[in-house]
């Protein structure tokens, strides 16, 4: 039997999600998703509920600290960064965040656990076992580039103390040959398999910054997950309004066009890319399309459906359509796709992404099938 705290935990999660105890909502400081922040750094917001209490107003109080520094030196270590002023205590109040440093592999694992994502079973017969080196242990020999400094110095310190040459008044630690420690590799067997992700995005006028930010975050997570599942991965980007073109990642998220919208143009280009570069027998293919649901005409939608049916779907592991809500978008394309493929279609996954908070749910919809 589970410990009763799991029930308290479930209760807490429900309150945070607003499913029960509406009266506590105002005390919830939100934050459901992990935000990438530079190289290998992420902030993990910790949702929390502040029970109101009589307490001191925070900033004016000051405090005591330990360490060096002159009068007027900042104690927070980040010069120039302003403290939040008094103002209105809104959602940010009491929001706890963890800043974490970790490899993408670990992060992907956590994502997988959090969303209960199944591991993907790659298709195709081209699964060849190959050996990979993982640097997880420590050895006494190795190239300089793999030297483990902390271990080396610790070893040197130990030696100096043991032989009595360590002088606490002049604490100099100098490693000698025998102290050096190196990261060393363990060999693991991994399956050789490869995948391609083709992102398509509508960049017509109705897609605003907020919508693009959603797509950007969502694609970050999707890439992260797929990278953890496949050994080799290609990522291609297509933007379109009435015409489509392939672009670099940076351009993909920056471009803003104003023309109309012909979704079929993107699908055509996608089909072309698959046909020229990716043999479906060897590649796991993931086309993702994001738009606000506007399409120029019903005729074009018809063409889209036939492109999907005849070319893209047979070649792909799955086709994902994410509809980002925007003030201008009609959302018609979702309805059209839904009418054709329904919710439980084997290869077509449709998801509506209302706002930033819905990103994780949407990722779960996309990747939850393990294909």
């Amino acid at each position: 039997m589970d410990h009763p705290i799991k029930r308290d935990h479930a209760r807490f999660r429900k309150i945070v999600k607003g499913k029960v105890r509406d009266n506590l909502r105002k005390y919830v400081s939100q934050g459901q998703q992990i935000i990438p922040k530079g190289n290998d750094k992420f902030t993990v917001p910790m949702p929390s509920i502040d029970i109101p209490r009589f307490k001191f107003g925070d900033k004016s109080e000051g405090g005591t600290g330990q360490g060096d520094g002159q009068q007027g030196d900042p104690v927070d270590g980040e010069p120039g960064e302003g403290q939040p002023g008094e103002g209105e205590a809104g959602e940010g109040e009491g929001n706890k965040e963890l800043e974490v440093e970790m490899g993408v592999e670990e992060l992907a694992k956590i994502l997988g656990e959090e969303l209960e994502l199944p591991n993907i079973e790659p298709k195709g017969k081209q699964q060849i076992a190959s050996t990979v080196d993982k640097y997880t242990s420590i050895g006494t020999v190795g190239p300089d580039s793999l030297k483990h400094l902390k271990r080396t110095y610790k070893q040197a310190l130990k030696r100096q103390m043991a032989t009595g040459i360590y002088d606490p008044n002049n604490p100099r630690v100098i490693p000698i040959r025998g102290d050096y420690r190196y990261r060393s590799a363990d060999t693991k067997i991994e399956m050789e398999n490869s995948a391609v992700v083709i992102y398509m995005m509508d960049v017509s006028g109705s897609m605003g910054e907020e919508q693009k930010e959603i797509v950007r975050t969502e694609s970050f997570w999707i890439n992260l997950w797929l990278k953890s599942q496949y050994k080799d991965i290609d990522i291609r980007y297509i933007i379109h309004d009435a015409t489509a073109k392939e672009v670099e990642e940076e351009t993909f998220f920056r471009t803003r066009e104003s023309g109309g919208t012909l979704i079929s143009s993107a699908l055509k280009l996608c089909k072309h890319i698959i046909e020229t570069d990716y043999d479906p027998n060897e590649w796991n293919i993931y086309p993702f399309h994001f738009s606000d649901g506007d399409n120029w005409s019903a005729d074009d939608t018809k063409m889209c459906l036939s492109l999907l049916d005849d070319h893209i779907l047979p070649a792909s592991n799955m086709f994902c359509y994410g509809q980002v809500e925007s003030r201008y978008g009609s959302g018609q394309f979702y309805k059209d796709l839904n009418a054709r493929y329904h919710q439980d279609h084997e290869k077509v996954i449709l998801s509506k992404i209302k706002n930033k908070d819905a990103i994780l749910d949407s990722i779960k919809e996309f990747l939850g099938k393990g294909k």
């Binding site: 308290d8 506590l24 929390s48 001191f56 107003g57 403290q83 956590i110």
Partner: protein, 500 residues
């Protein structure tokens, strides 16, 4: 359910060894029980304040959520947990290595000795495991009867005021409580008697009039009670007790409030002795490890671990560090005789620096200090300018021009004052009942005894709305805000300022 198991084998042997050292040094402790658990279990225990069973509430789930995340992302790890009970329970983490376990055990004996001997703990219930479990059962039963939502909602309100405690209550033994009760009784009777101009009527008449009065009272609701209470309640800082006794709440609600209150008072001694308690435990893990328990090949790892615990911060003082250093400083001063009139009045710096009377009273002194002080008196009495200097202490404050916290001063008095201010009333605002029949309308007037720092009014307003839910009449608070005397009132809808 819980996956904590008693230790055995080598670890049990280790415990015997460490306990031997504790005996040798004269530590005086409750029987010590160590249990081993995995990280999930220790997170559960930590979220529940160290206890295996608590009442059902989401806040434990929240703490558990945060602890588990912290652990999973590799940011924090709980090495050990010890609770103030007899026998004293402590939990070890399975994945810790041998050196960690050794260090933790030595540390725990320090805490155990402190729990048993520090006078602020003398009235704590050492059977708290049972009490907590009983509270759990009680509240679960209320939830079954009145509905989870309703009971949980009330607990939220109670938790909102669980920091409004009266430290003096820690020394209220049953006799004190008894005498207070009779005093109250007397005062009440006096109040009644004052109502009569002449008091030489016959017993019979008096008793008749009493009877009349009683009936009268029942009819006229309990308005008069409140008037009588007004004088008695003034200055009451035990807000939860006040509400249990005087708020129009149902029996189960009073009971729940009682549970929360009892638990809050149980944890209070730990809140007012944080620096001493951690300092004492660190002093002993350090002493036991470096003079007895450690193997030579563990030295560097120990130094690494110990330094990690002692790490200083510019934004906070580390209670472990300040605590252990103060104890060491006291030991040194009493060993060398650097205290008292003669030393203080010595004018020669050189003489002072080399002062040594070889008294050897240090050990004895620190045992005495650990018995009779709390953090405030500890700092007040033993913090010295030399110590502040050596520890590189400073105060900092907010500079509105740069919008940053900046180093303010290294002046001894200022540092001491700041530390004491932070420790006053265990860092919580001092709130007391001012008038239980405010405006003669059965409203509640609370007073914030302002000691230099304003309240966070956003939080205060929400707290007052929670007290309103218990008191059921408007709740006012007199305080200073931005250098002005103000009275805020929550009338059931919104917060208003009464005096403009």
């Amino acid at each position: 359910m819980l996956r904590a198991k008693p230790i055995n084998g080598d670890l049990l042997e280790l415990q015997k060894e460490i306990q031997g050292y504790a005996d040798e040094f004269g530590l005086d402790y409750f029987p010590q029980v160590f249990e081993m658990c995995d990280y999930d279990t220790i997170n559960i225990l930590a979220a529940q304040g160290g206890f295996p069973i608590r009442y059902p509430h989401w806040k434990f789930g929240m703490d558990y959520d945060q602890l588990s995340k912290g652990y999973r992302f590799g940011l924090q790890k709980i090495y050990e947990m010890v609770i103030n009970t007899n026998p004293c329970y402590a939990y070890l983490l399975e994945v810790n290595n041998w050196l960690d376990q050794k260090l933790v055990m030595a540390h725990v004996y320090g805490h155990n000795d402190f729990f048993k001997n520090n006078m602020w703990f003398s009235n704590t219930n050492r059977k708290m495991m049972d009490v907590m479990a009983n509270h759990g059962t009680k509240i679960r039963r209320y939830m079954e009867k009145y509905g989870q939502e309703k009971v949980e909602n009330f607990i939220d309100k109670a938790l909102s005021i669980e920091n409004l405690l009266d430290i003096n209550h820690l020394f209220e033994t049953s006799e004190v409580l008894e005498s207070r009760r009779t005093k109250n009784e007397l005062a009440r009777m006096e109040g009644e008697n004052n109502g009569y101009v002449v008091d030489d009527r016959s017993q019979a008449l008096k008793s008749f009039m009493r009877g009349q009065e009683k009936i009268h009272k029942e009819v006229r609701t309990d308005e008069e009670d409140v008037v009588a209470e007004k004088n008695l309640a003034k200055g009451e800082r035990d807000i939860m007790r006040f509400l249990i006794q005087h708020a129009p709440i149902e029996e189960w609600q009073a009971d729940v409030l009682g549970c929360i209150r009892e638990e809050a008072y149980y944890f209070l001694p730990q809140r007012i002795t944080k620096i001493m308690n951690e300092g004492w435990a660190s002093y002993w893990h350090s002493t036991i490890m470096t003079t007895r328990a450690m193997n030579p090949n563990e030295f560097i790892d120990f130094a690494d671990k110990h330094a990690g615990v002692m790490v200083m911060s510019k934004q906070n003082i580390n209670p472990y560090k300040i605590g252990i250093e103060l104890f060491r400083d006291i030991e040194f001063r009493w060993n060398t005789g650097r205290f008292g009139k003669e030393f203080n009045e010595c004018q020669s710096l050189e003489e002072k620096e080399n002062w040594n009377k070889n008294l050897g009273l240090g050990r004895e002194k620190i045992f005495e200090v650990r018995k009779s002080h709390n953090d405030i008196s500890f700092i007040d009495e033993f913090l010295t300018p030399e110590f502040c200097n050596r520890q590189q202490l400073f105060t900092y404050k907010f500079n509105p021009r740069t919008s940053r916290m900046e180093v303010d001063t290294r002046d001894f008095q200022a540092i001491k004052q700041k530390l004491l201010t932070q420790l006053t009333n265990f860092g919580q605002p001092l709130i007391q009942v001012e008038d239980a029949n405010f405006m003669n309308r059965k409203e509640l007037l609370l007073k914030h005894v302002h000691q230099g720092v304003d309240l966070d009014m956003q939080f205060a307003s929400q707290t007052m709305s929670n007290i309103f839910a218990i008191w059921k009449r408007p709740v006012s608070l007199s305080t200073q805000y931005e250098d002005k005397e103000v009275v805020f009132q929550f009338d059931g809808k919104e917060l208003k300022q009464l005096n403009k």
